[in-house]
């Protein structure tokens, strides 16, 4: 158990020491995860909305696919992306493998189905007449949709947090497409894995604790936004 305690001490030390390396890692973790979540939202929100609101054949299949996508193993996503980005692969020319960009791509791919599925669930839960009433007040499609998002913002935030949680805690894809390069693509999870495989367990736990701290910070900010009035007076 002392490992856990040591981990706590280590975490405090890492944060206080102002060790440039750990700050680089933290910054990269935030950059990659937040960007990936943002991209996933950008892609997943419209798709989730379409699945939830539009009527077309194959809607259910798409929803089931999104739900399945939530179970897509990051390692496999990582492998897919790696194969695409290989020098011999179709996108090899971009030279993106082992860069933060590649990690963002992979993590966005992991988070998108989560966003789609949870956005769809969130929007379907709102009174179906809500959009009608908004349009009946003169809202065009965009405004009615914005109002709908405002209405469903509680579960939408929960979905966003789930997506962020999925990417920030993920290691398989980050490791595979990022390569865990010091100062370039090392994030908290891959650092924790490395520490573990070096037998530095308390260091690994320290990284984990820092990760939780970051996740909590992000969630707190989101929760604060969530509690704000959507319709200002």
């Amino acid at each position: 158990m002392d490992v856990l305690f040591d981990g706590f001490v280590d975490a405090v030390e890492l944060l206080l020491s102002g060790d440039e390396d750990s700050w680089t890692i933290i910054a990269l973790t935030l950059r990659v995860s937040l960007t990936a979540t943002a991209i996933a939202l950008l892609v997943g929100l419209p798709l989730g909305a379409i699945v939830a609101l539009a009527r077309f054949p194959g809607r259910r299949v798409l929803l089931a696919a999104a739900n399945t996508g939530m179970g897509m193993p990051p390692v496999v996503v990582g492998l897919f992306v790696t194969v695409l980005l290989w020098r011999s692969g179709p996108l090899g020319g971009l030279g993106l493998l082992y860069t933060p960009t590649a990690m963002i791509v992979a993590q966005a791919a992991i988070a998108t189905p989560v966003v789609i599925a949870l956005v769809a669930a969130a929007l379907q839960q709102v009174d179906p007449d809500f959009r009608v009433q908004m349009q009946a007040l003169g809202a065009n499609r965009v405004r009615a949709f914005a109002a709908l998002l405002g209405e469903a913002r509680l579960p939408l935030f929960a979905g966003t947090m789930a997506a962020f949680g999925a990417v920030v805690s993920e290691v398989g894809a980050a490791q595979m497409v990022g390569g865990n390069l010091v100062g370039q693509t090392r994030v908290l999870t891959t650092a924790a894995v490395l520490a573990t495989s070096r037998g530095q367990f308390s260091l690994a736990i320290a990284f984990g604790l820092i990760l939780l701290l970051i996740a909590f910070g992000v969630n707190l900010s989101l929760t604060l936004v969530q509690q704000q009035r959507a319709v200002p007076r």
Binding site: D6, D10, L14, D19, E20, D21, S22, T24, W86, R87, S88, G92, G95, L96, L97, Y98, T99, G179, N180, L181, V182, G183, Q184, R186, A191, L194, A195, T196, S197, R198, G199, Q200, F201, S202, L203, A206
Partner: protein
């Protein structure tokens, strides 16, 4: 604990300016070189001296060689001689040069239920099999796994049954499994030394000439793929066998463990190692 990387400011500073099209090469290496911290020590120096960025992909030897074969890596630093030779024979690889070695040790619980303490490695393997004492194998086609399979065949045993367990993971994880299961296992000395404190395993058999763990650097050529940076590969391989680098390798770990983790071997005759 210690910080995960000794990379220092140079690594992160140059990272910022790194553009993939510039002088940047991909090194596929085994986990042991990274887990031991050796590369964290060496690579910043190489980058400073040569201007080449190195992207280290720490993977199993099997994956490292596969990456080389597909032209996805420019240089390999691996320790699986038989597989390497086969691979070089395929023709896509360039020069393969000896860099360093350390050795494998046979580890086991203090109680030593199979009674292998002090025996030669082949004998030890036989005893373990006869006693059906738990043996934990990496089972991941790594250099260590290859060496272990070699030992079994030397001992004339085909391992199997519930006492023979395969983790399919890296050395660190495998050591921990062995520790928890109070089993025997084969490990390279460097990894064992770095994790010794948290393990309840002891060195029971060591020093056999057959237990050497030899690392080679392999340059890849454009034959493996159009985008291979053969120039970078050559620069890296040349640097690895350069005297100054060899000195660094020889010093690595002495301060922390009281003994060096690797023995520099550049230019030596491979057949005469360990004598």
């Amino acid at each position: 604990g210690t910080a995960p990387s000794a990379g220092g400011p140079s690594a992160s500073a140059s990272a910022a300016s790194a553009a993939p099209a510039e002088k940047s090469l991909i090194l596929a290496t085994t986990t042991s070189t990274q887990d031991s911290g050796l590369l964290d020590e060496l690579l910043p120096v190489f980058t400073r001296e040569s201007g080449w960025q190195v992207k280290t992909v720490a993977v199993g030897s099997g994956q490292a060689i596969e990456l080389g074969r597909r032209g996805e890596a420019d240089a390999l630093l691996v320790h699986s001689p038989e597989a390497e030779e086969k691979f070089v024979a395929e023709g896509s690889a360039g020069a393969r040069r000896l860099v360093m070695h350390n050795d494998f040790v046979l580890l086991g619980p203090k109680a030593d239920p199979a009674g292998v303490r002090g025996t030669s490695s082949a004998d030890a393997m036989k005893k373990i099999a006869n006693a059906e004492a738990v043996f934990v194998s990496r089972g991941d086609e790594s250099g260590t796994h290859a060496k272990e399979k070699g030992l079994w065949s030397q001992a004339g045993v085909t391992p199997g049954g519930s006492w023979y367990q395969s983790t399919g993971q890296g050395m660190g994880a495998t050591l921990r499994v062995a520790g928890e299961k109070a089993g025997y296992t084969l490990s390279d000395r460097a990894t064992y030394l770095t994790q010794r404190d948290s393990l309840e395993l002891e060195v029971l058999s060591e020093g056999d000439p057959g237990l050497l763990n030899v690392y080679h650097v392999i340059e890849m050529t454009q034959k493996a793929g159009g985008r291979v940076r053969a120039d970078g590969a050559k620069a890296f391989a040349d640097w690895m066998v350069a005297p100054a680098t060899q000195r660094l390798i020889g010093e690595f770990g002495r301060a922390k463990f009281g003994q060096p983790l690797f023995t520099p071997d550049a230019g030596k005759d491979e057949a005469k190692l360990g004598e």
